[in-house]
């Protein structure tokens, strides 16, 4: 997903869940910041590099793709952008090497999503924002895995977009040029036959289609054994929006439990047509529409996202005060999310996210991770 959903739509969902304007701004800022908190930015502000929640294109170009490098990439992308749906999925006649990758396929309503939301409870608005980013991406990025893998993430020339009829999509490899959605010109990552090439990370082979709320498309995923997947983004994004409201109601304390597969569909009784029109409008970026909707809801102006908003606060804070700053709170939350996801992946017997250990709370020992 993009800024239009992670920032503005998350603001709308937070407000509809009962958070105030200021709280909603903090939540949506954190949700969008997940897409920008790279090692480069953390280096600049003096933050810990292991709190990175994304990797820039330039960082990935330099990234190693040996086992250490792959684990590093997987830890970030699987934790924040491609949350695995089922770490214990079964598929017959497949090697462990294949299954390790297959089990990282992202999808909504997995057990990890429940844990993601639960560990955000009572841990600050930044953590809620991170959880909402992860939740939203489980819908947009479903069917792709947050690890470089040709056998999972590849697509081929059987790729069609639904306009008035199914039209074949012909990708071009021009990352500098924006997609021309009117003329159906889209970019994707270059085909690389090497299994662990960076080009095979996430949904690169499908271009930006997963991030366009208006897009309905069908293709043959590499893992799908020639079964066609039809991805209906307007419908998925609607579910993401209503599930965010439900999750944030739980996080606010309005409801007692968060269960997978549940949504706050009542929001569509009043706002269904409006939300539908925003999602289905064919545009590269729906920021202005979501912003207008959010401002109507709250009656307040939603400031544009500014990546530098909290950086000075963090840089000027003393070592002991950093956790109390906005970015400091985000870093603590990011580390917790990453630890939870990588720990669960490790617990399932999968080494693609590296090794994890549980540090228990005891007298004088800080509990950093708790896995049930």
């Amino acid at each position: 997903m993009q800024e239009d959903f992670h920032y503005y739509a998350t603001y709308c969902a937070a407000f509809l869940a009962g958070f105030s304007h200021e709280e909603s701004l903090d939540i949506c800022y954190s949700a969008q910041f997940v897409d920008l908190c790279s090692r480069t930015l953390l280096s600049k502000i003096g933050g810990p590099l292991n709190a990175a929640t994304t990797q820039l294109q330039l960082e990935m170009m330099d990234a190693r793709t040996d086992i250490i490098g792959l684990q590093d990439i997987t830890r970030i992308w699987a934790s924040f952008h491609f949350l695995p749906a089922d770490l214990y999925a079964k598929k017959e006649k497949r090697t462990k090497r294949y299954m390790d990758r297959y089990r990282l396929i992202c999808g909504p309503n997995g057990d990890l999503l429940v844990k993601t939301v639960e560990i955000a409870k009572g841990n600050g608005l930044q953590h809620i924002g991170i959880a909402m980013h992860v939740l939203a991406d489980t819908w947009a990025h479903r069917y792709f895995a947050g690890t470089p893998s040709l056998v999972i993430n590849n697509t081929d020339d059987h790729f069609y977009e639904l306009r008035d009829e199914w039209r074949k999509v012909k990708f071009r490899h021009n990352p500098s040029a924006p997609d021309d959605i009117e003329n159906g010109l889209y970019s994707n990552s270059l085909f690389q036959s090497r299994e662990n090439s960076i080009m095979n990370l996430g949904h690169g082979r499908a271009g930006h289609f997963p991030d366009y709320s208006f897009a309905t498309y069908k293709y043959l995923p590499a893992w799908g054994e020639y079964q066609e997947i039809i991805k209906d983004n307007p419908s998925d994004y609607k579910k993401a929006f209503s599930q965010m409201i439900y999750a944030m109601k739980y996080l606010k304390g309005s409801i007692d439990t968060f269960e997978k597969g549940r949504y706050e569909d009542s929001v569509f009784e009043k706002y269904g047509d409006r939300i539908d029109s925003i999602l289905r409008k064919r545009q590269l970026n729906a920021c202005s529409d979501w912003k207008a909707f959010g401002e109507e809801l709250s009656g307040h102006e939603i400031e544009d996202f500014d990546i530098e908003k909290y950086q000075e606060e963090y840089q000027k804070a003393g070592k002991k005060e950093k956790d109390g700053t906005y970015i400091g709170g985000f870093i603590v939350a990011a580390k917790a999310q990453k630890a939870m996801v990588t720990g669960e992946i490790f617990k399932s017997g999968n080494r693609l996210a590296g090794l994890s250990k549980i540090i228990s709370k005891g007298k004088g020992i800080l509990k950093l991770l708790k896995i049930k």
Binding site: H158, Y160, K168, L220, E225, Y226, Q227
Partner: protein, 180 residues
Amino acid sequence: MAGATALSLWAKRRDMEEITVKIRRYKKNIEVSGRAMLAFAIWSVLKGVITIALGGKTVWELMEVSEADKEELGMLLLIVYFILILIAFLLFVYIGRRAISYARDKHRKKGFLIAAAILLILDFIGIPGYFTTTKGLENIDTAIASALVDITTCFALFDMIYSAIRIEKLRADNKVTDTV
């Protein structure tokens, strides 16, 4: 009654989906075999050139032409040799490109399968020849390598033909048009 009809429709749709999946799989086989033919096309040219350049034998020695014939027909034989290489190259390219077009539904004619069948037979017959012409263990490695390449070519051609036959049978039996 309505439930039974709905169930029957669902079952029919599921069956059609399974058939479509099978057709996609066979088409992919044909496309991959087509790409293999293009690779073999390049290999057939390289093999001819490398054999002369690095094989230690001249064209006439390869064709076992006598000195007398060489004096009389030398240039003609040389031209024939390279024409044969060119024909092999063009045949592989024709089969490869047509197979890929067929797999992508750009071309429905199956004439390339006849060429593929002829090539399959010729290749298969020629495999033992690598070993009967080898004297002792002197060039056994070359013979084995060449035989393996030809066996792979045979496999790709067979797979292409078999997959095309299976596709046509599935389409005919189930009246599948497998359009988008």
